[in-house]
């Protein structure tokens, strides 16, 4: 007897569908009323809710003019666990935003090494433009060959770029995440942490100063990571964004067509729904590509609403936030009492 997915499988696998009204095909004898569907959707939401911390504060926009987003891969600016909503918000509030893609992404996609690299780079440029980012800098380290080169060389490049672009805010992967199997995330997150510290020290790579840059200390860090992967990443803040920024996040996510929103996913969902005599009215008159995009958008909306709800806002993303003087905990109280605005 072959495996046949039931309704729970469908809803668990495609949390995005809880945004849609799944209907019973009237020609079928299987009944699934709307109350049952809503109940199942609630169950999915309830199951996901404990995976993130509840009752988090909603963060203010940090002061500054430049945000740097160093990430391992082409598509890490817009994920179900963060970045794009906050990037769009910062851009709308006047920040200059620059994306750093550490790897060449040759593994990600269906086209083989060099073509994947080229397609993924092009799609990155299109996607970050939607968010209002200025440009992408590709470091082109070989994708998932991180142990094959000296990580201090990657760190040095990040130090240089921090000195060159002088970011006030850095959005990166939280290097302290547990159970991260993708070495790119772990290594870039880890190197970024050190680079932020060392970029401010004159004796770290003094050769950079021959190129006209100066030491620079970025002040605010937002780290993203999977909320479902152990205790290493426990967010301490939610960053809210508006409906327009949410729409741009959805677009930036699904524009990475080499790896996302593929028509085959839509075909698979429709096939599984049909086996249970279910259908989604919103899918009618759409082709598989359009359905795949629609589902990707629902997925991103669903997760932004879920994370936003942890701070009582409509759309949000959860981060581990390090403030301006996080590394000086002994002086926090003194600063609060004695620091003045000129």
């Amino acid at each position: 007897m072959g495996f046949r997915p039931d309704r729970n499988d469908i809803l668990n696998r495609y949390g995005c569908l809880s945004n849609a009204a799944i209907r019973v095909d009237p020609a079928a004898d299987v009944r699934m009323d709307s109350l049952m569907i809503r109940l199942l959707a609630l169950l999915v939401m309830a199951a996901l809710a404990p995976l993130s911390a509840a009752d988090l504060p909603a963060g203010e926009t940090p002061p500054g003019k430049v945000v740097l987003v160093p990430q391992p891969h082409h598509d890490d600016h817009s994920t179900d666990y963060g970045m794009a909503g906050l990037i769009a918000r910062l851009v709308d509030e006047g920040f200059r935003a620059i994306y750093i893609r550490a790897s060449n992404d040759e593994k990600d996609g269906r086209h083989g090494y060099p073509r994947n690299d080229m397609i993924n780079e092009r799609e990155t440029e299109e996607a970050i433009a939607v968010l209002g980012m200025e440009k992408v800098i590709s470091l082109n380290w070989r994708n998932n060959f991180e142990s094959g080169y000296a990580l201090n060389d990657l760190r040095e490049q990040l130090i240089f770029l921090i000195r060159k672009y002088k970011p006030d805010v850095i959005l990166g992967h939280n290097g302290w995440e547990h159970y991260q199997k993708n070495a790119g995330h772990r290594n870039v997150g880890w190197m970024l942490e050190e680079a932020i510290l060392l970029a401010g020290l004159r004796n770290a790579h003094p050769e950079h100063f021959e190129m006209g840059v100066e030491p620079h200390a970025a002040s605010y860090f937002y780290g993203k990571a999977r909320l479902t992967w152990g205790l290493g990443h426990r967010p301490n803040i939610v960053m809210e964004f508006n409906a327009d920024q949410q729409r741009r996040k959805e677009t930036a996510f699904q524009l990475h067509r080499n790896v996302r929103a593929h028509p085959s996913g839509a075909r698979s969902v429709r096939r599984q729904l049909a086996r249970m005599n279910l259908y989604v009215p919103e899918f009618e008159n759409l082709d598989d590509q359009e359905i795949a995009v629609l589902m990707a958008n629902w997925s991103m909306e669903h997760i932004s609403r879920l994370h936003g709800s942890h701070a009582g806002v409509e759309f949000g993303e959860e981060y581990y936030f390090k403030g301006e003087f996080y590394d000086l905990p002994g002086l926090q109280g003194y600063f609060e009492e004695n620091m003045e605005t000129r």
């Binding site: 004159r202 004796n203 426990r234």
Partner: protein, 301 residues
């Protein structure tokens, strides 16, 4: 029947730890402090080390890194030299009688082979046969100075390796046999939000431990102030940051020795207050502690 099984398991366990336990009697009344960088142990363990020395222990400091990066306007060489001298001065204030500087290049520990660093440390553990060891906690999170992770990892394994005869076997010929250090304090900056959460019971993992440093706080402040190069760097970077964002700390309007010392005093007192939260102490330091419970559960002692 259950009691018999328990007794049997206890015997097996004791037989297993007996060769280790036998070594514990050979310890010197010495505390060895291993630090990746000059300031970390002073700020996060200095008060406790000073108290142990006041109580009669001999203190030995091992500096893994050369601290060449952290200065405001000095070359790496000058920075390393000055910080070495200032580390020796700070250690002296805490009562530490000997400072060993290994000279690994700071911020580049990742590129040092793990066993190279570990074996250097294991050697010194065997030479000094400490009763107490202080090491950077490699399991702490959110510390951007990763030398503390790599140095702490090497130190933690050196603690273990020093206790087994088959590590560094050549040293047997010069009478440097295995040594078990019975107590280890893991220290770390207070930036890990989970730093006070026990990860398991004391039998399996080092436990959170707070120590009272009220009696040695002034000594700790003076030791921290002795690290003049690092402190000047911190004060200048802080002032630059405040100036660039139209803010000021009146204390740093003029950055001189007096203002820097005051800033350092505030920092050390603030750390002591933070660590004292939730305790009856006025001033404290916090650690992960591996003592006798970590080696032999109370039910077996």
């Amino acid at each position: 029947m259950t009691r018999r099984i328990l007794a049997f398991v206890s015997l097996i366990f004791l037989a297993a730890v007996a060769p280790l336990a036998a070594q514990i009697g050979e310890t010197n009344n010495t505390v060895v402090v291993i630090t990746s960088d000059a300031s970390n142990y002073v700020l996060h363990a200095g008060g406790t080390v000073a108290k142990m020395v006041e109580d009669g222990m001999e203190g030995i400091l091992i500096r893994i890194g050369n601290d060449e990066k952290d200065s405001w306007d000095l070359s790496p060489e000058e920075t390393a030299l000055r910080t070495k001298q200032e580390s020796e001065a700070a250690a002296k204030i805490l009562g530490i009688s000997k400072v060993i500087s290994l000279g690994f290049r700071s911020s580049d520990f990742r590129d040092v082979p793990f066993t190279t660093m570990r074996d250097r440390l294991a050697y010194y553990i065997r030479v000094h046969k400490p009763r107490v060891l202080f090491i950077p906690n490699p399991h702490t999170q959110y510390d951007r100075n990763h030398d503390r992770y790599y140095g702490g990892r090497a130190a933690e394994d050196a603690w273990r390796a020093a206790a087994f005869k088959n590590y560094l076997p050549a040293m047997k010929d010069v009478n440097l046999g295995a040594h078990v250090t019975p107590e280890v304090y893991y220290f770390a900056p207070l930036v890990d939000p989970a730093r006070r959460e026990p990860e398991s019971t004391g039998t399996f993992v080092p436990q959170p431990k707070m120590t009272d440093i009220s009696g040695t706080l002034e000594k700790k402040i003076k030791a921290a102030q002795a690290l003049k190069t690092i402190n000047h760097s911190l004060a200048m970077r802080l002032k630059q940051r405040l100036d660039s964002t139209d803010r000021r700390l009146p204390l740093l309007d003029s950055v001189d020795e007096a203002s820097i010392n005051k800033l350092v005093e505030q920092r050390v007192r603030g750390l002591a207050r933070l660590s004292a939260e939730g305790t009856d102490f006025q001033a404290a330091e916090e650690f992960r502690y591996a003592g006798v419970e970590y080696r032999i559960p109370a039910s077996y002692r």
